[in-house]
Symmetry: C2
Amino acid sequence: MQRTNFGDMACSIARTLDVIGEPWSPLILRDIWVGMSRFDQLQADLGISRKVLTERLNHLVEQGVIDRHPYDNRPRYEYRLTPKGTELVDLLMVMTAWGDKWLSGQAGPPVLYRHHACGEISHVDLRCAHCGEPMHAGDIDPLPGPGSAVA
Amino acid sequence: MQRTNFGDMACSIARTLDVIGEPWSPLILRDIWVGMSRFDQLQADLGISRKVLTERLNHLVEQGVIDRHPYDNRPRYEYRLTPKGTELVDLLMVMTAWGDKWLSGQAGPPVLYRHHACGEISHVDLRCAHCGEPMHAGDIDPLPGPGSAVA
C-alpha cells in the first residue's frame, strides 16, 4: 500500500499509528484538538486528498465524535470535538506517551505536555478508577461482561 | 471499502476501531494479550485472510511489539508480546474504557476488568505522572519538544 510515511513525522501519534493502524481519523482528531477546525486547514496540514478528508469527516460526524458549525454564508463549516470526541483524545494522549518512549529516539519527544493542575511537563499515567493504584495489561483479569453475548 | 463490520462485534476495542481506524493490528495484539499465540488461532478468531494476517504479523515483529518463538520442529511459531508490545496494550485498555462508555448501549460492556490490586471490577483512569491529578485533553498545554524539528 502506497501512503505517506507516518513513521517519519515528528509526532508520536503518527509514529504509533504507523505501527498499529490506519492513521487518518486519529490525526484528524489531533488537528481539531489543537485548533485546526476548518476543512482547508486540515487538508493542508495532513496533505490528504479532499475526497478522503471529506469521507473521514463525514464518518466522524456520523459517529458523533465531531460536529459541524457553519461559519459564513456559503455555508462553510468548522469542525469541533463533541464531548464523546473530546474523551477520545485520551487515546491520543496514551498514544503520545507510548510513542514518546518507544519511537522518539535520540531527538526526544516532538511535543511536551504541561499539566495545568501542577504546571509541570508530564505525561499520562494509567490508574485504577477504583483504588488509584497502577493498572496495566498485567494487572487485570478480563471477565465476560453483560454485553458479551451480543455478537 | 468492503470489510468486516467491527462495530457489530461484542468488543469495545473493535467498536472503537470501527470509529477511528484500521483495526487488524490492535485486534491481533488483543488476541495475543488474552493468550491466542498461534497463527491458526489468530486466523480462526479474527476471520482474517492468511495473507493479511501474515503481513500484519511480520509488520508487528519488525516493529518489535511481538516476537516469534518456535514450538515444534516444522517449525511453527508462537507470537508473544514484547515489553514494548505489552505497554502498547495500555492503548487497548483506554480504547475499552471509551468503547464501554460510548458504544455499549443497553447491553453493557462486553468485557469487565478485575484489578488484581484491589479485586474490584474497574477501568483505567488517566492521571498526571507528576502530581497524580486527572489529566485529560482539556487539562494540558502542548508545547514544542526537543524532537519537534525532526520532520
